[in-house]
Symmetry: C2
Subunit: 180 residues, 2 copies
DNA sequence: GCCGCTTGGAACCGATCAGTACCGTTTGCG
DNA sequence: CGCAAACGGTACTGATCGGTTCCAAGCGGC
């Protein structure tokens, strides 16, 4: 075997944590699902929390890279982020934003989980701000934060209603914020 | 004793669940904090889930009544809901929207918890829609759903940043949606 | 004063939790 | 070939989980 127990653990945990929630997934289940020995788990991670943080950091990098790649392949419109979001939230296994979910589950606002989730959102705002700036809008970042607010509102709407209409509404509102 | 174990359980659970999350609060802790006998708990509720649902339903009624009361005492502007929200989210113990949090924790989209949380949001949208209609806007409910999207986005922003600026931004965006 | 209902307290249940220790095996490298 | 590191599997820890059961005390109404 020996083929990267760490990577397998992170990949399996990423899926299980997202599908069922972090607290709801026990170490034993995670170990069974990943085919990794129990001892190997604790050789790679000091605790479940450490794994959670590693999963979130990994997901952060993947999500940001995917967003940048998708935006690079689009027409450059600042509204493109809503199309990326729509496709992401249209997946069959959609269960909300993993970072929002993690932030909600980790009640402690000073926790590392909170910090990582917040950092992810700030990084995403930064990407949006760059797109806006390239389109000739003010570099204040205010519009980008408004876009993020619309995205976060849309993700809750999609989770609640089970369809992508909230993303479409958010995009239209964003469009209205643009030409003004 | 004998003074309504049920009410005490719901009140205690409402506080503990909100502060620390539903899954994070065990039955034993809840019983200790409320001063209720363990047996009394299970006389009033079939399971922890039943208590969770009762708490959410109770909170739903309280929140909706408080919103209606606050709106009745305001100037009748459709934007009044954002002021209500701002005051609510400015509380020191703020930890997001209890219904969103419950929906996130209960991963199962078909669960009763999901149903209750969704019903709460729909009822709130209905209240907003009525305010909008009274102000002469279209009764389609589309604007009300947009307002709810802005509110949900704002609550995540407040949770993330720790200040009320997102609510102010949401209100300004809503204002822009109004005169158009 | 007595009866019936609700109460709080405690003991107990099997299951599961996160985390530790030790095992024999497999793997990559010199 | 041989060694060392990484591995998977199992057994175990104490703590806590949600839930059940029994009991004695307190209360209200008749």
């Amino acid at each position: 075997m020996a083929t990267q127990a760490r990577e397998r653990l992170i990949a399996t945990a990423e899926t299980l944590f997202y599908q069922r929630g972090i607290q709801a997934v026990g170490i034993s289940e995670l170990i069974d699902a990943s085919g990794v020995g129990r001892a190997s788990f604790y050789r790679h991670f000091d605790s479940k929390d450490a794994l959670v943080h590693a999963v979130l950091r990994h997901r952060n990098e993947r999500a940001l890279a995917a967003l940048e790649a998708a935006l690079a392949g689009s027409d450059g419109s600042p509204l493109g982020v809503f199309d990326v979001v729509a496709e992401r939230y249209g997946q069959a296994d959609f269960r909300g934003c993993a970072f929002i979910n993690a932030m909600v589950e980790a009640a402690d606002r000073g926790s590392e989980t909170h910090r990582i989730a917040r950092a992810h959102k700030l990084a995403q705002i930064e990407i949006i701000a760059r797109q806006l700036e390239q389109a000739g809008h003010s570099p204040s970042g205010e519009l980008a934060r408004d876009f993020q607010l619309l995205i976060d509102g849309a993700v809750m709407g999609v989770l609640r209603e089970g369809n992508l209409e909230p993303v479409e509404r958010a995009k239209q509102i964003a469009a209205r914020l643009l030409h003004l």
